[in-house]
Symmetry: D2
Subunit: 334 residues, 4 copies
């Protein structure tokens, strides 16, 4: 195949980003449709992606279009069902992370894709960021010796609306936001987690606490091979969208992240000042393009996706154990 006909299912913030990228920046793909029941959103899609088809929902989409693949950006609780339905329709699937909110749903989605013989790739965008990819290259080249400790900070400037933070919708802070760092920790350390301990609280935003979520949390991981990790995730990182990771190894260390966003620095009597990225599109930018290009290349050239459903399932297992640890005040074995 040399041209994948793709539709985006769900065009919220991240879905719209995916749609624009598929419309304009990915080679070998053609965006043919999206789904949304929201008129305003449909208008915005047409404004930014060209005059493509807009369907009310996935059923209508599957009935109305000849497709090769879908990009699923619906709410997390719908992911598994969407993956199953699209797989059974014979479509290759890119699904925004996390694959599901339960391990059972992960298994169901993975099985459906396998049975149908379609590609299933999960949207772990940081794997496609130049910083994260560069660090992985250094680690794999042995530049830091054996990885010993993984340290991550991951902060959003502002909390999401409580309706999204609601753990029954998003899975809660550790499933929704720390998920990225948990995923990267397995990738960088090349090992499985055996024990987890977490502390968290709704320290800033009572509305987050009211729906049963936390806005700041810290986690310790112990890997099977003895290595360790500390993670911090925040929904109230007022100074910027702060993604930083370091891995300390037996011979050195590697760090991912940036304090300065635009290449400009102001110096005055009060000192030296510069900006910092404040949103994830600002911080990750081209990684979203690289990610979808990778998916489309897998489809067009029949390659295994670089991020498979099993990776997402293993990450979810840690996130769920961490959530349990946070609620029960004790370490949880996996």
């Amino acid at each position: 195949m040399d041209n994948t006909r793709v539709a985006v299912v769900g065009v919220g913030r991240i879905g719209l980003t995916h749609a624009e990228i598929l419309a304009h920046r990915v080679r070998g793909a053609q965006l043919v449709a999206v789904t949304t029941s929201n008129e305003e959103r449909a208008a915005e899609v047409r404004r930014t992606c060209g005059n493509i088809a807009v369907y009310e929902d996935l059923d209508a989409l599957l009935a109305g279009e000849e497709l090769d693949a879908v990009c699923i950006s619906s709410s997390t609780s719908a992911h598994a069902d969407n993956v199953v339905q699209c797989s059974e329709a014979g479509l290759h699937v890119f699904c925004e992370k996390p694959l599901a909110l339960s391990l059972q749903d992960c298994d169901r989605a993975i099985s459906a894709a396998r049975r149908a013989g379609v590609k299933l790739m999960i949207g772990h965008v940081r794997q496609f960021d130049a910083g994260h990819a560069g660090a992985k290259t250094h680690i794999d080249a042995g530049a830091i010796g054996t990885p010993l400790v993984f340290r991550a900070i991951s902060g959003d400037v502002d909390p999401p609306p409580p309706s999204f933070a609601d753990p029954s919708v998003s899975g809660g802070l550790l499933v929704d936001a720390m998920y990225h760092d948990l995923y990267i920790s397995r990738w960088f350390m090349d090992d499985e987690v055996k024990r987890v301990y977490a502390e968290g609280g709704a320290l800033v935003d009572p509305a987050i606490g009211a729906v049963g979520d936390v806005d700041n949390a810290v986690v310790i991981l112990r890997f099977a091979g003895g290595a360790m990790a500390t993670l911090f995730v925040s929904r109230t990182c007022r100074y910027g969208h702060d993604l930083r990771i370091e891995v300390i190894g037996s011979q050195g260390a590697v760090q991912v992240g940036y304090y300065r966003h635009t290449p400009v620095r102001l110096l005055d009597k009060q000192g030296v000042h510069h900006d910092m990225a404040r949103t994830f599109p600002a911080r990750l930018g081209d990684a979203f393009v690289t990610e979808l290009q990778a998916f489309v290349d897998c489809v067009n050239h029949d390659i295994e996706p670089p991020v498979c459903g099993e990776d997402s399932r293993a990450t979810l297992a840690i996130a769920l154990a961490a959530t349990q640890s946070m609620h029960e005040g004790r370490a949880v074995e996996l």
Copy 2:
């Protein structure tokens, strides 16, 4: 107008970049054709830009296509003639910098565009870089007081082939490469240069010297209002494509530039290590998109271009005076 039909004239390194951007990343524009007499180049254009028309030369292009605008990326010595011809054909013109190699040719091109009533925008890409734009915003906001001194470094990793370095083709180092910094110096200092002094030499690459060019040079500018500038430009900046500017003012300073390119840092027994951008697309990236978007917006919405022909002419005047100073060993008044 809401959709500009545009062709790219000349698809060398920078022309191909423009073509790809117009094909995929600019809203309100449609790339319909390019010109090149090179079969390989034509094939590469079709591979990266879709199945668009390829014409042998500008005459054939103008005869064969209905266009709204052109993007001129031919060799510098052809710019003025191309601008005149396209203007007379009623097309809006984006012309890669410098507009010409002589002030007379600049005047001829500017007049032709004005007579024809078409937009003429010059490709000063750094004006669209987030760093340069941010610095200008700080300066205009008074954050550094009165600008006193402008300092620039501008280095390419490797010299161009002597056939391009040849001053009769490119204008030589000060016209070809320092031009960008000279342009930005007028923009940042908001003043005109009255005197210039330059030193330069073919210190690294004898082949550059053999065609009458230099590979490294330094320049001092004196502005009419008293402010000063020091500039350094190099064709042999082995460690990276190094673009850094600072303006020191009466109350503070502002700096543009970055040492680190990708957000990854390696730490080992030898110290701390990171990369640096090595090419201008790596350093300036999105600025090329922003630039062409600005041109297309000017065409579609009948706005004055942010970089006009007169700006390019004034910059060339400084570059020519600096070249004369370098050859004559004395300060030259403008």
Copy 3:
């Protein structure tokens, strides 16, 4: 008093540093003697500190000199007895951290000093580093809002000899090395720790494991007010003596630490390179001077010391609980 006559008890690595500083760099103090039973060490003291008296041990020192104060730099297991003996001799005491290896010994030392009415200051040198002090000033000024999370990394380049690492001598990694960060966490967060969880291992140096210590560990703290901390401490941080702390608050964040030690940067085809401090004297330098000056000022001007015995006791309590957590695999309440 305007001139404190002081002796240094124990002139190992840190004791010799204190002796040199008291001999040459502290105003209002006169170094009159040290204790050591090692002839070579005595010779080195005379070479670097001038021709001062050297006594075999503390008994001989107290019998032979008229003193105002002592600086105790003996092995940690001797601290408490030394403090008691010097207090009862009416001498003001500066004692290297930690005050003791058990809470009972801390209490005994604190009581002795209080009964005798002498000053007791503990050597928490980081409190006197410009970075740590500057961060505390920002926090106290409200620049980051309410402190939410404390993150620390603290690494030595090479492990100490197993004879020192032995927990019965040094207290082990969490008491010996992480102690500094625990102390700073209470100071920055201005709160008490209520729960602690730790993981650790002898991942690099089996000789450390053989004496019952670990070489790398991570810790989570929960503060009474809800705030949290993650700490990482390493004896095998090959790339440098890495001391970095950040506090994220409800309105911003503050960071302490440096990647670059000397102000020089090398750029070549492989990228950008610079050094990093490799020892604690290199990293903390003048803080050791500021610290002893603060002690001497307290003695001369009858001021309360900025770091009292109770602070050291409270820090030890956390370090002991973390050690227990690490061994028992469960969170420990304080």
Copy 4:
């Protein structure tokens, strides 16, 4: 000799710094006296350096003390006479830079020291800074290939009083302040300057202009071997004491300098903020100690000083030529 008896001649800002360092921080030296006719200054010396002798002037000092060496920190216009007088008295001489304001006076001082067979070392403190020394090591090791271009910025936060800026007292901006960078340019490039061009103005402080000096200037140097330099020096660098140098070579580059002074960084909604050194003692700190230690070691061990009078003379020659260029508006050959 193993203990140099030294006196400081003149205890203005820099002389007091030298006196304190000789009193407390240099091994193998004993500060025995200073000269000053100012009662307050004498009191400050006694407070910070101990109860040493204070003499009205150099005649009184030489009559009253048995000395081995002097540290001359008098006004620049007195340097040459002081050096001659002390040399003839058989004393080794450390003289603050510049050695004199005319080449004739330099020659007179150098000859006197040579005839008397005493050491003459000039106070080029930056040569002893870890950054400058580290860069020189990299250059000498061939890490950057052949040095091609030297770039320097050197800024003081506030202008000196006009009485000091007066060129007849200080030599003017290029002799007084840019001197340091000119000296370092010869040291780093290991070559002699053959041509110089300068522009300057009293752009900020009219009082500086009224005494015939400038407050900001830029200079281009051409070295005999073809290499070049651009220098910027400012008396009105409001944001900090900014000392930065880079040398670009045929294979790489090396940079000296720091933006951040204390290791602390504040992050808030406005961005990222940190401080910068604001005075030369803050920036250069220990270099002043290293410098005087080097002088005392030369005296005690009969070693040639690392900075000789001829170096200072050659630097002055460039500074005077640059001053002439600035006034005459033309390049000046040396």
